[in-house]
Each structure stands twice: as C-alpha cells, then as structure tokens.
C-alpha cells in the first residue's frame, strides 16, 4: 500500500459541517495508515489542539498539520497549510482579520487578504467555472509560486461524472497551464461512513429545516468519510497521491513548540524576572509580617521561589501581581484562589489573604513538581467592578495582546434532543413534552428508557434514529463563547499565537482556544472572575469605616484568629447571607458538623458537593467527627493523604492522590484522570479508569465497596470538581461574612442588599432574617431614602434596641433605598435626589414639579414612598397620573413657595387600601412587605385551620405530628438526593424546612406542583438544632388568598 497524507479534513469545530471529533479523526487516520493529517477547519484552528492532544495521548505515529479551509469572497475555496511557525503566525493573522470583520460566527476574506502570507502553502479547489478559475489561477501563479497546489477531490458525485465534463481532465489542464502540481485530497467530514446520518442531521440543523426538506443540501453519499488507502489508490492517479506526501513533508510545525511570551514590561530593565519577583516578595513580607517572619515560613518561601524559578513561572505570578495591585489601588476588593494561590508567595504578593500562620497545614500541597499541572490562580473581584479590571488589562496590553479564552458551547442533552428531533421532523411541542418530562438526574432510568416511557417507540425507525443520533451529537461543539474571565496576555501580538474572533458581547474578543486547549499546550491564563460577596463585603467595610471609624480588610479579620462567637453563630445555622454556607443543604449540615475553626469551614464548604455526596462520604465523615466511628487508615501512605479529613476523602486532590497511592496509578495516569474529570465526555472517559481503580484498590487490600464509592465520588467531581485550594479561599470569605454578620449586622445586611442580585436569597428573605435579628428597618420614603439602602443613625430612635447601638451609642436603622422600587428608572432617582430640598418635600405638587417621568412617579406612589405626604397610596398614584402639572404654565411655580396657586390635584376620592391591598401593592412595587405577611393576614382573617408557626417548632418534640402553613419560597430537588424535594415554607415568624418524598409528591401532585401557599401535615424530625417536617399530607391553600379580597363583595 502506498502512503498517503490527508490534507483537507474538517472536524466538528467547523460547526455543523464536520461530523467527527478531532480526536476521532486522528485515531482513524492512524488506523488507516495515513502518514499525516491536516485539520483544516473552516477559518478556524479551534479543533486542532484536541487532535494534537489525542496524538500525544495515544502516542500515534501520525503527523499533524495545521491548516484552514477558506471560502473567499470571489467564490473560490482554498485550503491553507502552515509549514512553519512563521506561516502559522501569518495564517492566524489572516483568520483573525477575516473573523474580526464580521459578526460572531462568520468571516469574510478576499484573495487580497491572502497576499500577506509569505510562507504558507495553498491548495486550491477550483470552482469549475472557467472564466473565474482563469482569473484566480493567474493571481495564484503570481503569489504562490512554489507553494501552491491544485486539489483534486473525487467524491463520486454527479458533477464529477456528468456527460461531456471531466473534472480530472479539467484539473490536469489547469495544472499544466499554471504549473501547479495536483494533489489528491478527500474533503473529509467524518471519520467513518457510519456518521452520514449525523452529518445529514447537522446539515439540517444548519439550514434550520428537517432532513426530509434538506434535499440536495445533504451529501449524496458517504465518500466524505476517511477512505482506506486501497480505495484511494483505485480512485486517484498515483502521482497525485504521492504529491500529498510532498506537501506533508514540507510541514514541520509542531504545536508543542508554540511558546507563550510574557509581557516584558512587568520587569524593570536589566533585572531578571527572578530577581524582580524576589524583590516584590520581600517587599510583601514587610507588609504581611510586620513583626518579622519565622524561620519555617522563610524556608517555605525559599522553596516556593526555587520551584517557581525551576518551572519558569515568574511572569505568571508577576502578571497576576500587577492585576491585583491595580485592584488594590482602585479599592476593588479581590481574593485569589486556585492551586498556586495558596502559597506564601501569593500571600506576600497580596494575591490572597490566607494567613499561613493560621493554617500552616495547607501549604506545600499546592505547587508541586511531580504533578504536571500548570499553576492555577483565579482571582475573584467585586462583581459590579470587574469590568474595570478588564478595561485595565485591555488598556495596559492592548487588544492585540490580551484576549479572553473561549468556552466551547456543546450540545447537551436538551439541546441535542431538540435539535435532532427537529431535524428528524418531529414537532416541537412533542419534543418539549419529552424534554420537560425527562429527569436527567434519575440514576436508575436513563433518558433513553424514559423516552420510551413517554410514548416514543424505541424500536420504530424514527425512535431509533432519535435516540441514536441524540446520543451521538451530545458533546459536539456548537459554537465558541467567551470564557467567564480567563485572560491570555502575551508579549507580541496574540493573533500570531492563535486567531482572535469577535464574541457576541460588544467590545469583547475571544481566542479560538478554550482553557483545556491552553492547558494542553502549556500556555498560561489568568482568571479574572466576578464574585458578588466581595462587593457586599467591600460595601460593609466602607460603611463600618464611615459609621464607626474602623478600617477593615479581609486579612485583618483572618489575622485575628478563629473567633468562637462567630463559629457559635454558624453552628446554630444562623447563616442566611453568609458566603457559601447559606444554602438549605449547608444550613442543615452546620449544626451537625459544628465548624469550630477555619479548617472545619474549609471542609464544610467542600463536603456539600456532588463529589462527596455521590461517593457517600458525608455520613462516614460525620460519624468520625462525632467520634461514633474509629478513624483508621489502611496504610501510612493513605494516612498521609486522608489524615486531615479523618480518613474520608473529601477533596478532588485527595481522590486523585488516592488513585495513586491506593490503586497504583502512575503520575501520568493520575494526570489523565484529572483531565478526564474536566473533559466533555466525562462519563465515557472516566469509565475507562473504573476497572483499574477498583482492581487496583482491591489488590491492595481495600474494600470493593469503598473502591466503588471512591469511583462514584470521581464521577461526582466530574460534574463539579472542588479542590481544597478553592475551598480554602472560599472559607476565608465565608468566615469574613459570618464575622460581619455577628459584629456589624447593619453593615452586613446593608452591604448585601446593596450588592444584589447575588446569593440564594431575595431582598424579602434577607430583610425578614434581619428583622428576626432585631434590626430596625424603615420603609422607602420620598424624603429620606437614597438610591442604595443605608444605615441611618438617629438619637431619637428607640434606644431599647440594643443590637442597634452603634459605636457612638446611638440607635440605628436600615432605611430601604429606591433601588428596590420596581419600574423606577435610575435617571429618575438621580433627578429626584438632586431636586430634593434639604428638609424634604412638603407637598405632592412639589414632587410633581421635579419633572420626573410619569412612570417613575407612579412607581414611587405604589411603593408608598409618598406615605409621609399622602395617607393613601392609591390616591397618590391617581394624583401622579395627572398630566396637568406638565403644562409649561406651571413650571415656573416649581421652586416657588406658593403651591396654593395650583389647582388641587384631584377632587376624586379613591378607596383606601386595606391590609390585603397594601400587601399586594408592597409586593407588586418592591417585592417585599415590611408590615404584612400573607400567612399572618390569612390567620387573622380566620380562614386557616390551626397550625404551628415556624418559631414554635423548636418546642415540639421529635417525631410529633405537626401542621405548618407557609408561602412556598423554595423548592429544590437536588440530583444528589434521589426523589426528594426540599420545600422551604415561610410564615411570618420564620422558615420551615419540609421534606417531601417522591411517593408523597406523586400522590398529591396538584398541591405539590402548583401551591403558592401550602399547608403541610407531617412528622417533625429533630436532630440537635436541625428541624425538618417530613410531609405526609399536602394541601394547597393558595385559593384562600381570594377570600382576603374585601371588595369581591356585592356592589348593591
């Protein structure tokens, strides 16, 4: 068999055109004995790194060529190949130009754009339109002498064999005329012929029609699959096949040699980066350790610096340092996390605030030579100010040198079923019905079986196609999107390293590689992420400084050491609003785990995650912590890995390490395992390790059951990996927010409320929590509110509220801000605040004179902001609806003190709202009510039966039968708790946690699914301070709200 190199091949990164993954293509090319394979995705290099990694992973003797297929504006199609680094840079540059000109997803290039290519090879696929081909061939002959070819692709389609026309001879003729050699190619779109069906489906999706209607747009046969060399030999002249090898032999580019050059401006001239980093660390030591640094920490710093130098990571740390220093200068709160972030070096560089003296146990685990991981530092910034950091980066390095990494958006189950179904001609409501009724978290019944339960016959042709093709398309890339914050910054133009294209967001550009690609090539990125809690904390700090004159920073609080009072509060599950531990599941775990120190909090945050839960590690850990189960280790190595978590694996790193010490994985295998957890085809990739892990652990004397659980845990991490280093950084913020909640509750709630939307809770829930903590809350007022909520100190306030006493001894209150008012424009708020007299408005007319939008005025009226001027919010709205004041005649009166010259606003008297009306209006206008609660109103109206209020549940005994009633504020069926739904009911005294088992839910579907106000009778479960009601009977009380409506009365 004669060797062959395939030079024209599209992967599925030519979105909706290629029907095979790059990985599949290289493996198949190798099987067929191809010498080389060019991945030539359309105006893209997005798939090529996957191909590169697959070749390395499987150690294939296949040469990878990087290229791209381009359809030019003149109607010609060419394939560019990059023989060397320079050609590659030029090619990336051309792709960037073509992409940047157009909207996301498209490109536009003329042949003139290709004239900048000085090294690249060009293969031309003639259009077979004689006059156009003549023009183009002339142009080619001038610009690509010695590096141009004609492509001949035989695909057995009708046009190749049409009577009186012969593509082969036409190509030959052109070749003679141009003196370009002819080179064979296969125009590969799929690695095997069996992908034809999927290929057709992709075409139909692209054309937004069904395969039945796609007609001639579909491929007419399977010749676009990779073909065996024997077949190729029969179809192509030998010389043209040989020519492929000539072309391939000229391609010497190795993706592995692509090197990233860091921006040099970060280091002063004549100073080595090592020296500069050392200098900055020493500078940092003086800030972080004003009283001197211990020998042990000095040793750690030296070791870390040596490691950084050895791996050549100085610039990475310097780049991150530069970004956080910017944030520090701008007073933007930030916090680093990630494997490299938890080092003393990062503490000294002020990238993190994790004090090594307090948690020395953490160090040294993170930067490690043996694990071939690139260092990972993610920096979280205040979510509302992260854009400033982005702009700083763009400004400092320029858009040519800084861009965001891409995220590959792939077909997931829902989008896959919908797209494939549509392409098969199934109507959309049927598909909707399927999608809504399939529970992806049902671990016993796969979606395929569920589909047949929903009425799809899997044995019918259509059913079979739907199931098979949906399965096949899952994981296919659909388009590129921007990574949330992964920046790549380089010394030279980035487009010489990887093409840049437009993102859908205006003024954003992304590179064509995602973070896995960057990692595969050993390129480093800096993650600039947004975190709402940082905004909240910064606001709280500002308020504390302003009100009490105390300046705080995160490091100050952690440096004080673990505060028992703060942990006591957490142990009571008093954690609404506290970072990371405020969810329902976390709150029920807090009283059981009873975190008492920083590291407990690190575990607390990591344990309520899919990994430990799926691995069933939570209860063993609890038992051991409570001393109900002995802590033992099968071997000293395992003890080393698991000692800090009482022998139970909790963190992702522990599980990987466990695979090494307990199942005999090599370093390389462990690395593959780690990558498999992050890859798109998780379960498929991870299954490969199952056997090895279980057999390995069993042969080393572990329980099979334990090994199975460890594997389940690995699958769980695949869904949501959670390494210890992240938990460690999050725990700092969790502690700081809990600390604020304990010592400065006003500043805490106020900072949180001003940073919404974030976290789990609505303003209403947060404010109810605040008032249960005894905080005074004051309604929105036209004369007293500002845009934001604020803390308001006033000696005249009731000084009995001890918690409200500020440092100066004056009582405080939280005044709600205009930001809560729905439909009120920020422009309107600004205008209002600007025009508001020092001592407030005295009449409604005066407010009207400010010149606000009618909508704004109505919104304010309905929010009862005029309560101090008008007793009736309906009347206020009515008055504000009047357009009369808008007449120019009245404008001059605005600031004059004679409102009596104006006509009275209205002579009509509107009904006075009752409590129910007020509640409705409160919710409609602001989403919360300070004065009323629906359950309270219903109870007062006497329409509810007897029930136990949330606050009284504490006094009930374990296993007693209780009835509770509340507004359904939360309904969660986590995938990690099979068949259980957690309801949160809210009455006027607090929240009630209700557990509804699947059978209960099924038997009372209507109440379960649709209730807004729910009455539950069930059994009280009490474990320490954790209280649940296990639901027995559910009854929907929503309709009772109609009874509150006083005016559904007879009018006569």
């Amino acid at each position: 068999m004669k060797p062959y190199a395939e030079l024209h091949c599209l992967s599925n990164f030519s979105f909706l055109r290629g029907a095979s993954h790059p990985e599949e293509l290289v493996v198949r090319a190798h099987e067929l004995g191809y010498q080389a394979l060019a991945i030539t995705d359309e105006c893209s290099v997005a798939g090529v790194v996957r191909a590169y990694s697959a070749i390395n992973e499987h150690q294939l003797s296949l040469k990878l060529i990087v290229g791209t297929e381009l359809s030019l504006s003149c109607g010609q199609k060419v394939v560019l190949l990059a023989p060397c680094r320079q050609a590659y840079a030029e090619m990336c540059h051309v792709i960037t130009i073509g992409r940047r000109r157009c909207e996301k997803g498209s490109y536009s290039l003329s042949k003139e754009d290709l004239e900048s290519l000085t090294k690249g090879l060009l293969l031309w696929l003639p259009s077979h339109q004689e006059p156009q081909d003549a023009v183009f061939s002339e142009w080619l002959a001038t610009h690509f002498i010695g590096r141009g070819w004609l492509l001949y692709e035989r695909l057995m389609t009708s046009y190749e064999v049409a009577e009186g026309y012969d593509v082969e001879r036409y190509t030959e003729r052109l070749s003679r005329r141009m003196r370009f050699p002819v080179c064979a190619a296969g125009n590969v779109r799929m690695h095997v012929a069996e992908r034809q069906a999927l290929q057709d489906i992709l075409t139909a999706i692209r054309l937004n029609c069904s395969v039945q209607d796609a007609g001639a747009a579909l491929l007419s046969n399977t010749e676009h699959a990779m073909r065996p060399m024997k077949k190729l030999a029969a179809m192509y002249p030998q010389a043209w096949l040989n020519e492929t090898l000539n072309v391939a032999s000229r391609c010497e580019l190795d993706l592995g040699t692509l090197r990233y050059e860091y921006p040099r401006e970060l280091v002063p001239e004549n100073v080595s980066p090592q020296r500069h980093l050392k200098y900055l660390v020493e500078k940092g030591i003086k800030i972080r350790f004003p009283n001197g640094v211990s020998l042990q920490i000095q040793r750690t710093i030296r070791r870390e610096l040596a490691l950084i130098e050895e791996q050549g990571y100085e610039y990475f740390f310097l780049t991150t340092y530069d970004i956080v220093q910017f944030a520090k200068r701008q007073d933007i709160l930030y916090q680093g996390r990630g494997s490299a972030a938890n080092s003393v070096v990062c503490y000294c560089l002020e990238i993190t605030s994790v004090d090594p003296r307090q948690i020395k146990v953490l160090f040294e685990r993170f930067i490690s030579k043996e694990r071939n991981e690139p260092p990972d530092i993610d920096v979280d910034f205040e979510h509302q100010r992260r854009e400033e950091v982005f702009q700083y980066i763009y400004q400092k390095y320029g858009r040519e040198r800084a861009a965001l990494a891409a995220t590959v958006i792939r077909f997931k189950f829902k989008s896959a079923l919908r797209s494939v179904g549509k392409a098969l001609g199934i109507n959309e409501s049927t598909l909707d019905y399927y999608i809504k009724n399939i529970n992806r978290r049902d671990r016993e019944l796969g979606w395929q079986s569920q589909l047949s339960e929903l009425g799809l016959d899997p044995n019918s042709a259509l059913g079979g196609h739907l199931i098979r093709l949906t399965h096949e398309i899952i994981g296919f890339p659909r388009h590129l999107s921007q990574h949330v914050g992964g920046f790549i910054i380089s010394a030279g133009p980035l487009s010489e390293l990887v093409p840049i294209e437009n993102a859908s967001m205006a003024d954003r550009t992304v590179i064509q590689w995602d973070k896995n690609d960057l990692e595969s090539l050993g390129l480093l990125k800096v993650d600039v992420l947004a975190l709402g809690m940082l905004s909240a904390i910064r606001r709280s700090f500002d308020m504390i400084q302003h009100l009490y004159g105390r300046t705080l920073c995160i490091a100050d609080i952690t440096r004080e050491g673990d505060d028992p009072a703060v942990y006591a509060q957490l142990q009571r599950a008093d954690s609404i609003g506290v970072f990371q531990v405020e969810s329902r599941a976390q709150m029920s775990m807090l009283p059981r785990l009873k975190p008492a120190c920083y590291y407990d909090l690190v575990i607390q945050i990591a344990i309520i995650r899919p990994g430990p839960i799926q691995g069933d590690m939570v209860h063993p850990y609890l038992r051991r912590r409570e001393g109900k189960e002995a802590v033992d280790y099968p071997s000293p190595e395992v003890k080393d890995v698991l000692e800090r978590t009482l022998g139970v694996p909790i963190f992702q790193e522990q599980v990987i390490k466990l695979a090494m010490v307990a199942a005999g994985f090599s370093g390389g295998e462990a690395d593959q395992l780690r990558r498999a957890m992050a890859s798109w085809n998780k379960s498929g990739q991870l299954q490969k390790f199952k056997q090895k892990l279980i057999v390995g652990m069993e042969s080393r004397g572990y329980d099979r059951e334990f090994a199975e659980r460890v594997f389940q845990q690995i699958l769980g991490f695949g869904e949501y990996g959670f390494p210890e280093s992240h938990s460690a950084s999050f725990a700092v913020l969790a502690y700081v927010s809990a600390w604020l909640k304990h010592y400065y509750p006003y500043a805490f709630y106020c900072g949180l409320l001003n940073s919404l939307p974030m976290g789990f809770y609505s303003p209403s829930q947060l404010l109810q929590d605040a008032s249960r903590h005894g905080l005074a809350i004051e309604a929105i007022c036209i004369n007293r509110s500002r845009y934001d909520h604020r803390i308001h100190c006033d000696n005249s306030l009731n000084s009995e509220r001890r918690i409200g006493l500020s440092a100066q001894g004056t009582a405080q209150a939280l005044r709600l801000g205009f930001r809560l008012v729905r439909g009120l424009s920020s422009k309107g708020i600004a205008r209002l605040l600007e025009a508001r007299p020092e001592d407030g408005f005295t009449t409604m007319t005066q407010v009207q004179g400010v010149g606000l939008d009618r909508r704004d005025l109505e919104a304010l009226a309905s929010a009862n902001a005029f309560a101090c001027l008008s007793g009736n919010r309906y009347q206020a709205r009515w008055d504000m609806l009047n357009d009369a004041h808008r007449l120019p005649l009245f404008e001059q009166h605005i600031n004059e003190e004679k409102p009596k010259s104006l006509r009275p606003l209205s002579t009509t008297q509107l009904p006075l709202p009752d409590d129910w009306d007020d509640l409705q209006e409160d919710y409609a206008a602001t989403g919360l009510s300070l004065s009323h609660h629906p359950v309270r109103l219903l109870r007062d109206a006497g329409v509810l039966g007897p029930f136990t209020a949330a606050i009284e549940l504490m006094e009930k005994t374990h296993k007693s039968i209780v009835t509770v009633t509340g507004v359904v504020t939360g309904k969660q069926s986590p995938g990690t708790a099979a068949g259980v739904t957690f309801f949160t009911l809210e009455d006027d005294t607090g929240n009630i946690n209700v557990v509804v088992w699947q059978a209960t839910a099924r038997a009372q579907k209507q109440a379960y699914l649709t209730s807004k106000i729910l009455e539950v009778t069930g059994i009280l479960e009490k474990e320490g301070e954790v209280i649940h009601v296990i639901a027995g009977r559910l009854s929907d009380k929503t309709h009772l709200m109609n009874k509150l409506d006083a005016r559904s009365r007879d009018f006569h």
Binding site: Q196, D213, A216, L424, W878, K1005, L1009, D1045, D1050
Partner: protein, 518 residues
C-alpha cells in the same frame, strides 16, 4: 335591543375528532351506517397550547387532573401522564367559527363575528319572526353545528355586556329572558375583575394599582361627572367610551356576517393519522353534515375539495368530482374512498377540511365532454376530464430535491388549488446558492440537469446485455431516514445497439437499467 352572545371557549379542542374508536383495523365497513361507534376508553387529557407553551384550552380529563388555564406545559405534563398536545391555531378557530355562523344563519339573521371565539346575534328583529324569545332560542339550539361544541350563551342589552357575561362562565341560567333587565345583569357585571372587561392589559393593571379592582369600582367612581372627567384625563377617552358601550350609553356599530354560498367544515384529529383509511371516519361525518346542508338549500354539488393538514404544516389537497351533481353522502363517501385507497400520505395528517364551493341548483343538466362552455378554466377543464376518466388519468410532474433518482420527481394529481407541499424543496432546487454554503452542493444542483437521463424508469429493470461504460461511477447513498434508503453506483453506459443507458450496481452487486439518455 337585545343581544345574544355565543361564546365558544374551546373551539379548537371541540374540533378535535376522536379517532380513538375509528382507527381500529377491524371496522372495515365504512359505508355502513354505524361506522363510528362511541369511543370506548376514556378520552385522554388534551391541551391546546399558546405560543408561549401555556395551556389555553383543556378538556375535562385534563381539568380533573388539576391542569389550569395559563399553566406552563412543564407543570401540566407533570400533572397528567397521558397527554395529547395541540398548538393553538387561530386559523382553525376562525374557520370553525365561520362554519358555525353559517349554520346559525339558517335561523337568525343578524350575526356578528365578535372575535375568534364569539358570535353576537341581534335578537330583537327575530322575535317578530319567532313570536317569542323561547321559540327563537329553541330554534337556534336546534342548529346541529352547536351540538358538539362547548358554548356559553348570554343575553344582555348591549353586545359588549353580552360578550363579557358569556366569557365569565359562572352564570347559572344565562338565557332567562329577564336577563335583559338591568337589575339582573348589572351586579354580575359589577363583580367582573377589570382584567376581564375587554380593555388592554396595561389599562386594567393601571386600574388595579389605583385600587379599582372590579368593574363596579370603576362604575361607582365615574358616576360623579368630575371623576369621570378625571379618569378620562388619566386613562384616555377610549376607556370611558368602552364603559359607555358596555352599559348602553353609547351605541356600538356591528358589522354583520354575510354568508357565502359555500360549504366548509373542519376537524382536527386527535392523533396523527398515517393511513388514508383512518381518514374515512371523520370524512363520513362531515359528508353527512354536508348532505343536510344541501338538502336544506335544495342544492347539489359536483365537485368537492378535501384539505389535509399535515404535521409539517403543509396542506395536501384532494379534489373530487362526480359525474353527476350529487348530494347523497354515501355516494360521495364511495368516491372519497376510491380516491384515498390509491393515495399515500406523504406525511401524517393532523386535521382536515372539506369544502364545496360550487353549489348547483337541484336541476342541472349534465353536460358531456364535448359540450365545453368557453368560460371553462383550465382547472374546471381538468376537473371535467377527471370526472369523466377518473383523476388518476390526469397527472402533473413535480421536481423534488432528493438524491434518489426515483424520488427526484413525482407525478401528482392535478389540483385546481395551489400546491403548498414541499415548499422548501422547491426553494432549494431553484435558489440553492443562497441557502447552501457548501460549494459541493451548489455545483451538484447546477450540474444535475446534465447528468440525469431524459427517461427514468419507474422501476429499474435488470441489465441483461453487455454494455460499455462511458462515465462513472456516481455513488448515491442517501435517505437513511426513509423506508427506501438507497446505495448504488451509477454509470453511463452504451449497449451494442448504441443506446446510452443509465445503469447501476446495487449493494448485492446486481446490475439494473434505470434510465435512457435521448
């Protein structure tokens, strides 16, 4: 004046023909009189969804399961296990309402189509004719078209009031004559939520946020002249005018329905129908309705059209003609059955409509083939020829974008109606370059004309002579989703008689002739 509103809240759902009984294979004898027995098993829950995928119509089974109007599909489908879904079609409802108006026109003269669900009938002029209100209502309710639809009928002294009351659905005895008395209906109107008084959503929202939750609130407010003026200033004169029309202080001019001399009847099918035989049951019912319709008018018809609404949205039309003007439903059914027997449904059918446009007087002389009137349109000519020779003899050719040669064209029956089928296919054939980004496909379709022989055999015949290949092969391997996927290598070949043949080899390595080049 008194006005009667007929409100049909579930027009689409009521139009669903229950095929559950009809589709069983045993019931062959369609022309027996008792073909469509009552459905045996309880009807499953059926929902009509609006474009936001929310429930807008539901049947009793769905109601019992707790499904409510406005519910999201997700919630509804969690409540009911076995669910039939339909997308709302206002076209269908409009059509059905016109059909009902048509039927009512037999007993009541002034009928206004209020919206897609409601008819307003002017009662006053009819009282003279019928003598009493009771007699009128009795006559009206005799109209068969009203039998199988859910309806609420309310009489009031303004059209708007009648309409609003008919929508409320909680009135015990809406047809009592005293309803024309204000003291009876005013309290009911007063209790209407402002959401349901026929004003724009923004307006009703605005009213509520002023504490005016019920029509009565608004009415009481505007009793005072100054308040009426102030409300007008704030909410616009249109609102005041609307209320005035409601209470009869302002007259609303209605446009009355003018019937066309056309019979049309639509039904939706409960299930997608794949076989033509299953369509006979609903058609039989409609033909019976047609027969009564014609009897009443002393008319006959010679042609009728059937429109099959297919799942993909396209409509398949079938025209039938009888040799003689005919009214008898059984005869027409026979014709329909003959026609459908030979027909294959290209896509499942979800609804159908029967239409007879040309109603002929009772005594019409039948004309023979050569007695052609000059005014005959080509369509009529075709219909005439079809009537004489059977429509199977008249065909027209249609090109399809299909890689399989035998499906690249088809003969189809000639219809006088414009064809709606495979619109997309046609687009792909005629302007391929705009839709298709792949160069290959572009070339393919441009050159495809030159490669296909002028005569393609409908059935390939085995090749039984030696041939010499000229071109080839072209491989066609496509249509995996159909029942007739192909995988063949085609060659252009010449036989000893110098005929140019189009031959192929199939997967079993057998050779066939599929066409001849001219």
């Amino acid at each position: 004046m008194r006005w009667l509103a007929l409100h049909f809240p579930q027009l689409q759902l009521d139009g669903v023909y229950s095929t559950q009984a009809g589709t069983s294979d045993k019931s062959e004898g369609v022309d027996d009189n008792k073909v469509a027995p009552e459905p045996l098993k309880p009807i499953s829950a059926m929902l009509v969804l609006d474009d936001k995928q929310c429930v807008c119509q539901l049947n009793d089974a769905a109601d019992q399961a707790g499904v409510q109007y406005g519910m999201k599909l997700g919630t509804a489908s969690a409540l009911v296990d076995d669910l039939q879904l339909f997308n709302h079609s206002s076209e269908f409802e409009k059509q059905r309402l016109l059909e009902i108006a048509h039927a009512c026109y037999q007993v009541s003269a002034d009928i206004a189509v209020w919206n897609s669900k409601t008819l307003i009938l002017d009662v006053a002029p009819m009282l003279k004719l019928y003598g009493s209100f009771e007699c009128y209502v009795d006559a009206l309710f005799e109209v068969e078209a009203l039998d199988d639809v859910r309806m609420s009928a309310v009489i009031a002294n303004t059209p708007l009031a009648a309409y609003l009351l008919s929508c409320t659905g909680d009135i015990d005895d809406p047809l009592v004559e005293q309803f024309s008395r204000q003291d009876v209906w005013l309290p009911i109107l007063d209790r209407l939520n402002v959401d349901s008084v026929g004003i724009a959503r923004e307006q009703s929202l605005q009213l509520k946020r002023l504490g005016l939750h019920y029509l009565g609130d608004v009415r009481e407010l505007i009793e005072a002249e100054h308040s009426r003026k102030e409300l007008g200033n704030r909410m616009g004169k249109k609102l005041l005018s609307h209320i005035a029309q409601l209470f009869g202080d302002e007259v609303l001019a209605l446009t009355y329905f003018k019937p066309k001399d056309v019979f049309s009847h639509s039904v939706l099918l409960e299930y997608e129908v794949y076989r033509t035989t299953a369509l006979l049951f609903p058609i039989k019912n409609i033909l019976q309705v047609l027969q009564q319709y014609l009897q009443r008018r002393a008319k006959r018809i010679q042609t009728l059209s059937l429109y099959f609404q297919q799942r993909d949205g396209s409509v398949l039309s079938v025209n039938l003609a009888s040799a003689e003007p005919e009214r008898d439903s059984a005869r027409w059914l026979n014709l329909v059955r003959l026609k459908l027997e030979s027909m294959k449904l290209p896509a499942p059918v979800i609804g159908l409509r029967l239409e007879a446009i040309k109603l002929l007087e009772e005594r019409v002389q039948s004309s023979d083939l050569f007695d052609l009137k000059p005014a005959l349109s080509p369509g009529q000519l075709v219909a005439r020829i079809q009537a004489k020779f059977g429509d199977e003899s008249v065909k027209k050719m249609h090109l399809e974008a299909d890689h399989r040669p035998e499906y690249s064209f088809r003969y189809e029956s000639v219809s006088t109606q414009p064809e709606h089928t495979s619109r997309l296919n046609e687009e792909l054939v005629s302007h391929d370059s705009t839709h298709v980004s792949d160069g290959e496909c572009l070339k393919y379709s441009k050159r495809s004309q030159t490669l296909r022989p002028s005569l393609i055999l409908s059935l390939p015949v085995p090749l039984q002579e030696s041939v010499r290949f000229i071109h080839g092969p072209e491989r066609i391997q496509s249509a995996w989703w159909t029942e007739a996927p192909v995988c063949r290598d085609y060659f252009v070949a010449r036989n000893t008689a110098q005929q140019t043949l189009w031959v192929f080899r199939d997967q079993a390595q057998e050779w066939f002739v599929h066409g001849l080049f001219a």
